[in-house]
Amino acid sequence: MAPRQSTPPAVLACGEIRTCLLPARQALDIRSAAQLLGLRPGERVLLSERPGLYARSPDTLTGVDCPLPSANGARVRAVGTVTAHAALTEGRVLQTSAHCRLPGTGPDQRRPWGEYLVRPGVVEPLGKLPHEAVAQGVLGGPRHGDLDVGLIADGLLTRVLRHPLLDQRPPFRSRPTRLRWAALPAAPGEGPSLERFTLAEDELRTVRLRVPEGTSDAGIAALCDDLALHDWLLTTVVRMLDGLRLGAGAAQDADAVVRTLRPAVDHLLHLWMPGARVGRRLAALWDPLEERPGFTRQWQALVQRIRDQLTLHAIPAAHREVEPAP
């Protein structure tokens, strides 16, 4: 078999992201973050300090050879590699993200492994790819044994969480989230668009995108990492406020409110920067989300609520302090 020169353009890119609070009492500084994310010896961790502290591991590759999930029951086998990385925002929010792109057609038989290795992040179907059905299958959740990029993200997360640098003392209780995404080609001449963003289950989100040919899947993954991060922030702060029993009027109310809300102030409120790490063209996909349901609008309302609660509960405390000692 003569080696092939190129693969046809991708007609589907898909991925999954896990987002969680870093289980450590103190946020990691940039050097510790580099240590945590140094997954491959000799390869550098990407570090940036503007507009916020951000560290991203080198990419890891996982070989796959399995059927693709599909909504119409078609069983298409695919072979290739899935790219994954871990990222840490402000030393506090940990994400692992796995993704791959799939060309519209592939060789009819499995090729030597070396041919797949020179195309990192590409998973090639054997034969033709029913890309719409596979996109739907990916978003609907793969069956046992099908290609599951979420498992690869989860495996990487488990690996990072075992790092001895972590003291396993998270400053507050929170839930991890999963975001699954699939990007299909946009109609000729059309720009990128966000077709659907759903809150599927308690902790599962799905995103369906259309992107022009030639859009890099790393760029799409960066956008989805960003969506996942901000969705996690919203979800986490909403739950924090849900946990409050307001207006109970008990004397210990103030303590409870401050104890519950303080972690948001300490660890989360300064992380909101939608689009900060997304390429300009794809960053435009934030616009529809900002319009409806209005991510930043909801965030600002939450931040205001937290500040109001803390202000309110500061008042009696101030009074207590000026009371003369008996």
């Binding site: 046992h144 989860d154 488990t158 969480l161 075992r162 972590l166 929170s174 991890p176």
Partner: protein, 305 residues
């Protein structure tokens, strides 16, 4: 916090009582996980009334997870998936109540290094997500007990607080057996020390729950003869002495659950409605469960004695 529920014998009410404690904690607003490590006879699904949700967990339960066959064990949201009509209406301001079932049909299995690491991963994950995680362990010195003793001694777990509840019935044999499970040559304390636990610290984290205890003062027994009442009083006192001699006396008892007829018939959660509306359960039982649930995190009931 992690709470391990252990017992030497079966039929001590360990599963049903710890499920009720999980339920009580969730009612107070805590997020609670209930992990069914009762390999061999998983009963939690019945207590939480989620048999329907158990279908299809043959391959994704805790056994499969520990053996590396599935990355994430199934979770059952009890409020949403229970078939118990009263639990369905999730009480206002309650926390989450999530069951992690064992595999249907999975028995005990040998543990290895990798299973231990996966067990640590799981417990750490649950600890970041839930306020209280109950872990129901198979009766006796089982693999499950060994595994969680090793897991809690693991360096990665050194900052995770845990407590042990040992359940036993109020009979001579059960008192001796419960003491043996904890203090015996091959007991929890001894095994824990071998796993790397500090003996005093581990001892300070173990408390006992006496289950299905007949209260001689209770109205249930008031129909009996004077001779019966006297006999019961004497037995009760003898048992207290026996318990004290076996180092499981009143000072290390977290609570006493009275003999509850409905639990003798049916393993279930005891709701306020069972006490107030239908009056099929005794108020003393509910009070006792609420109090034990509260004491779980009340440090004045824990520590070295």
């Amino acid at each position: 916090m992690l709470v391990f529920a252990a017992s030497d014998k079966g039929g001590t009410g360990r599963s049903v009582t710890s499920a009720n404690l999980a339920y009580q904690r969730a009612l107070t607003g805590d997020h609670v996980a209930y992990v069914d490590f009762d390999f061999g006879s998983p009963t939690a699904a019945a207590v939480f009334d989620v048999p329907g949700a158990m279908r299809g967990t043959e391959e994704r339960g805790l056994h499969s997870y520990l053996e590396g066959e599935t990355a994430e064990p199934v979770r059952i949201d009890v409020w949403r998936q229970t078939e118990h009509p009263l639990l369905r209406a999730r009480p206002n301001q309650s926390g989450r109540l999530v069951l992690l079932p064992g595999d249907a049909g999975g028995g005990e299995f040998a543990t290895g290094e990798e299973a231990l690491e996966r067990c640590v991963d799981l417990l750490l994950k649950l600890n970041t997500e839930f306020d209280v995680t109950f872990v129901d362990l198979s009766a006796g010195r089982s693999y499950a007990v060994d595994m969680v003793l090793a897991a809690t001694a693991h360096p990665r777990m050194s900052n995770v607080p845990f407590r042990w509840l040992v359940f036993h019935r109020w009979t001579r044999q059960h008192v001796i057996a419960a003491s043996g499970l904890v203090h015996g040559d091959h007991g929890i304390i001894g095994g824990g020390v071998l796993s790397g636990h500090d003996e005093d610290t581990l001892r300070a984290a173990v408390r006992f729950v006496r289950a299905a205890v007949p209260d001689p003062e209770s109205a249930v027994w008031s129909q009996g003869s004077t001779a019966q009442a006297t006999w019961m009083q004497a037995r009760d006192e003898a048992l207290r002495r026996l318990a004290a001699e076996h180092r499981i006396g009143d000072s290390v008892v977290l609570g006493i659950v009275p003999l509850e007829p409905i639990l003798q018939w049916h393993e279930q959660l005891i709701t306020e409605e069972d006490v107030l509306s239908t009056q099929i359960a005794n108020k003393e039982t509910l009070d006792a469960l609420e109090e034990i649930a509260r004491r779980l995190t009340d440090d004045t009931h824990w520590g070295r004695l």
